[in-house]
């Protein structure tokens, strides 16, 4: 059983909601970003989504765009990101690490090669925001070969029939995009999320993580009501940028477990 499945099993056993944290690798440089990531993991992340910076992140709002810009300005490459995964894996044996990025850097690196190198470095999956299921065969095959999950996203615009079709052979977990839009912290969490997750459960038995827009503990709790985990991206990137990745993860954990953030 891979680390993703193990983690979600454990969360289920413990009756807890999982916290998935996204951070852009190399923001503002490789060393500082690794410190922030370690602080976040130490503060209680259940899953790490490690962002591979890309020059033209068309699915990201300003916060993650800027993080990617800083990372690129510091010279971060995909090879650097893989190096970081290896180092993290040495110290954190169990946390699932999902590489989160855009198709082109992976494509240039080579789909076979990235599958092999990511697996060797200790990653558990790849999530490619601009690679829908229909285009993923070329990448999925090597990932399967190397034991990595190809994490799929489902959007509010995805019709149920399509969700069923693309999730048929999916692995790991499903990333449900709560809002119709790009990444970025939002004021409030969508209202009919429960119904949407309910519908999604009809077509997949995989754990469901919800994300896009979660910016504090209370929102995290709301979002997690019917889901198995919440993903926090832009808000965590901003917190890390302000040097409080760990504190923010603790705040999110508290929110998720029902403790009021003020407590």
């Amino acid at each position: 059983m891979n680390r993703i499945d193990q983690t979600f099993s454990k969360l289920k056993r413990e009756g807890r909601k999982g916290l998935v944290g996204y951070l852009t690798a190399g923001d503002p440089n490789l060393a500082a970003s690794e410190r922030n990531i370690r602080a976040a993991i130490d503060a209680g992340l259940d899953v790490l989504e490690l962002g591979v910076p890309f020059s033209d992140p068309t699915a990201d709002g300003p916060t993650i765009q800027e993080a990617a810009q800083r990372a690129l300005a510091a010279g971060t490459t995909l090879a650097d990101v893989l190096g970081m995964v290896s180092r993290l894996r040495r110290d954190y044996a169990d946390i699932p690490i999902v590489l989160f990025g855009y198709a082109n850097p992976f494509y240039r690196y080579g789909f076979d090669r990235i599958a092999e190198d990511a697996a060797r470095a200790g990653a558990d999956g790849l999530l490619v925001v601009d690679m829908p299921f229909e285009e993923s065969e070329e990448l999925r095959a090597p990932l399967v070969k190397h034991g990595l999950c190809f994490i799929l996203l489902v959007a509010p615009t995805t019709p149920p029939g399509r969700a069923a079709a693309i999730l048929a052979g999916a692995q790991g977990f499903v990333y449900y995009i709560m809002v119709t839009g790009v990444t970025g912290a939002r004021e409030s969490v969508v209202s009919d999320l429960a119904a949407q997750i309910g519908a999604l459960r009809q077509v997949t038995g995989l754990p469901i993580a919800v994300g896009f827009g979660v910016s504090n503990g209370a929102q995290a709790r709301d979002a997690a009501t019917t889901a198995d985990a919440v993903v926090v991206g832009s808000a965590l990137v901003r917190a890390a940028h302000e040097g409080r990745a760990g504190a923010f993860v603790r705040e999110l954990r508290d929110g998720l477990s029902g403790r009021s953030p003020a407590a």
Binding site: F54, S55, D56, P57, T58, A59, D60, G61, Q65, L72, T77, L78, A79, Y102, A103, N104, P105, F106, Y107, R108, Y109, V129, D130, M131, P132, F133, E134, E135, L152, L153, V154, A155, P156, T157, T158, P159, R162, I177, T180, G181, V182
Partner: protein, 394 residues
């Protein structure tokens, strides 16, 4: 060689639909709606009528006598897309997409624009159909294509300045994709070139194919035979795909795409994606892309805003790979010379984009020699470029 992509929009290695899941259902719906529309004679007729009565088609094929004399070789014919309503070929496509949007029940159009011609053409069709319109445009392009910005404002379109990256077409397109992701339920995204995710490359090509269909018939009427070469500039590649479409099966006709050579290919400051790029994935499709060794998209450079893009339509990549078309580059300076040449010899002020094609048409005419026939696509007029050109003169 088939000119149609596979069912999910691939031309060999190229094309496809590389977008976030949020947009996938919209693209699938769009493809279906597009195929339905094209199968509906009423829609096709409406599109044709609009091209005739509103856009002003057919555009003439014009024998440029003094330009021909100047180069001293093959006769050069110009396909006059500059005479279309709003001044470029872009309107052919926006009329098509606008009518499709209405058919799909959308009331809001959005677009990215570089030279502003596509933005103006989209704003124009939005006004014609009584729709809202939003146009994303890089700040640098807003500066260098001021007249088009003014036109969009008068047409009641909202022009959203894009300040990321080089503040040119690439960044405008990225921002437009983001905005579309947020508004995909209500908004029809009118892409202005044969790039982007399937079905845009084929849809835009089909709407632009009227250029080639007309040009082929006209050249037969004027000359009595097919041309030796058909030349067009290539930004994303829509005017080129449009005119090439008419001649694809005429294998003896050389199809020549002209990329922006910027300061010269050696300087790295250019927009010649086919010439100097590698295969990559950008803005929804796989094609040739200017990129770093680690897959980061590089900034393009061209004097002409409409060519200033680091990618190219996937079918062009395919034509380049298969050899059905050849691609070359013309530098900023060469394009400027051609701009003045056409202006002063023929009384036609071309768009800077189109000036690239004129330059190459001249070279081909010389190479072919007397007796040859070259058709160049004059994709747009230069009114938008007057300030840029005059500023450079000083």
């Amino acid at each position: 060689m088939s000119h149609q992509p596979d069912a999910s929009g691939h031309f060999g290695t190229f094309g496809g639909r590389y977008v976030g899941e949020t947009l996938m259902p919209a693209l699938i719906e769009l493809e279906r709606a597009y195929r339905d529309a094209m199968a509906d004679p009423a829609f096709v007729q409406e599109f044709r009528d609009c091209l005739r009565d509103y856009v002003g088609r057919p555009s003439p094929l014009y024998l440029a006598r003094r330009l021909t004399e100047h180069f001293g070789g093959a006769r050069i014919y110009l396909k006059r897309e500059d005479l279309n309503h709003t001044g470029a070929h872009k309107i052919n496509n926006t009329v098509g997409q606008g009518l499709l949007a209405r058919r799909m029940g959308k009331h809001r159009l959005m677009a990215e624009t570089g030279a502003g011609q596509h933005g103006v053409a989209t704003a124009t069709v939005a006004a014609l159909l009584g729709m809202e319109c939003l146009v994303y445009m890089g700040e640098e392009d807003i500066r260098r294509q001021a007249p088009n910005v003014k036109r969009m404002k008068l047409l009641n379109a909202r022009v959203v300045p894009v300040t990321s990256g080089t503040r040119t077409l690439k960044d405008a397109m990225s921002e437009a994709l983001r905005a579309w992701t947020a508004e995909v339920r209500t908004t029809f995204y009118v892409i202005g070139t044969v790039a982007g995710p399937h079905p845009y490359p084929i849809m835009v090509r089909d709407f632009q194919s009227v250029i080639g269909t007309e040009a082929r018939a006209q050249v037969l009427e004027h000359v009595g035979r097919l041309p030796d070469a058909v030349v067009a500039c290539v930004g994303g590649g829509s005017n080129a795909a449009g005119i090439f479409s008419g001649f694809l099966d005429d294998v003896a006709v050389q199809l020549v795409g002209v990329e922006a050579g910027g300061h010269g290919l050696a300087t790295g400051e250019h927009a010649a994606s086919i010439h100097a790029g590698q295969i990559g994935i950008l803005h929804g499709c796989r094609s040739y892309v200017l990129q770093s060794a680690s897959g980061q998209i590089q900034n393009a450079h061209s004097i002409s805003a409409g060519l200033d893009y680091p990618g190219v339509g996937p079918q062009h990549a395919y034509w380049a790979q298969t050899g059905r078309a050849t691609y070359c580059a013309v530098t900023d300076d060469e394009a400027m010379d051609a701009f003045h040449l056409l202006t002063q010899l023929e009384g036609i002020i071309p768009a800077l984009e189109s000036a690239h094609a004129i330059c190459e048409a001249g070279r081909r005419a010389q190479a072919l020699g007397k007796g040859g026939v070259v058709v160049a696509c004059l994709s747009g007029r230069g009114d938008k470029d007057l300030d840029s050109v005059l500023a450079m003169e000083r």
